[in-house]
């Protein structure tokens, strides 16, 4: 049965993976069902809410809008890849710490996407202004926090990271 589908190679959170999937299967579903990485959430399924945000070849994307065939050979980072050594006692990513400290997460459905959008933002703008934070997260909807605590979390993470030099953090890309 599975032989009818092509084999697609991709690197997810630093690990080479190979999946057999219908080429139009969404990257989101491949991550959650085939690779069991359920940190990435589905919200709207139409690219409006950002819950399924992941990074693909260094760009922020909505994984619900990517047919997995177009991810062939790509390097993907999901929320699980932000703190890769967590289960062996490693630290959270500075953004995750800041979300905890600032109350940036409530129900949690939007949080993985928010974190990925914020990680992308901080890579492009290590010292973001509030306007840049708002633009960087404009495609990520939250129905609990009212957004301000999320923006404050990102600002806090960026400020703390610049204080202790983000480049030295083990999880910084």
């Amino acid at each position: 049965m599975s032989a009818r589908w092509p084999t697609i190679q991709l690197t997810v959170n630093g690990r080479p993976c190979s999946v057999e999937a219908p080429p139009m299967k969404r990257l989101l579903d491949v991550l959650r069902e085939d690779l069991r990485l359920t940190g990435t959430k589905e919200g709207c399924g139409e690219g409006e809410c950002g819950s399924c945000s992941v990074r693909m070849d260094g760009e922020l994307v909505n994984s619900c809008l990517i047919p997995v065939l177009q991810a062939e050979g790509a390097t993907i980072q999901t929320v699980e890849g932000l703190a890769p050594n967590l289960e062996s006692g490693g630290a959270l990513h500075p953004l995750q710490e800041a979300f905890l400290q600032c109350g940036g997460a409530q129900c949690g459905i939007c949080t993985p996407g928010m974190l990925m959008a914020a990680a992308q933002l901080i890579e492009n703008h290590p010292h973001p202004t509030m306007a840049e934070i708002r633009e960087g997260l404009a495609g990520n909807l939250c129905r609990c926090t009212g957004f301000m605590r999320i923006f404050e979390s990102v600002l806090a993470a960026a400020t703390q990271a610049s204080d202790r030099n983000l480049e030295q953090a083990p999880h910084a890309r």
């Binding site: 080429p23 139009m24 969404r26 404009a138």
Partner: protein, 292 residues
Amino acid sequence: MRGNAEAHELIAPGSLAAVLDLIAAEPGVWTPIAGGTELMVAHAAGRLNSPKLVSLWGIPELRLVRAAEAEISLGAGTTFLDLRRSALIAKELPLLAKAASWIGSIANQSRATLGGNLVNGSPAADSSPALLAYDAEVEIISARASRRIPYSKFHIGYKSNALAADELLYAIHLPRRFAQHRHYLRKVGTRRAMAISKVALAATALVESGSLREVRLAAASLAAFPTRLYRVEDALSGRPIAKELIRAGRSAILAEALPIDDIRSTAEYRRRVAANLLEEFLLELLGNEERS
């Protein structure tokens, strides 16, 4: 997710020549898909009526920004983030850079392509008014030949365009003669980010000796497809920049605009806003003249 991935074939031949050969061999059978920000939404909703799709993502000939002496050429597969990152576009085609920043979110801009925006042909397409105001041409390619037409002739009806079944949109060419022009672009939507426009208006104007030597006006969501406002242009062009222009412009745009009521707005609101946007543009011109 109401669509069924198993019901669709998707292939990625990997080169432009291979895609053109495929659609020449079976015209109308294969639906091109680039960044997927439109077709994957239809797929999720279970309304993607394309059993066979061919991927244009990752084809280098389609994704480029190139400057020649007389024009800037943009590959149809250039993403909106690519456009936003181009210093050349920011400098010479500021309306296009601005429009690119309005398209959805960063995660949409990293995937959505300029060509996809045009081929999808929404009357509200964000990039269209700027391209029309810059007098863009589009280059269309097939295994047989390539041809260039004015972008203003590309849309021929609601969501229909000049492409034959074996053709692809290849590039968008923008003449480099707008350095002296005044530029205007404004979009009115429900919120600043992620919104599809209720109305958008773009304009370029060349002012000489206090008169409108040359003016191009283009709008989104005032007709079945993005369009130049030729009658408004005729009503304004050649005239001195003075308060009287505003009355002439408002009455011309109210006569030419043919918006509809839909989920995003009403025809009446769109007409009023379009007239207000035109007035804002003309007031900017007037302000510039008074200062100079």
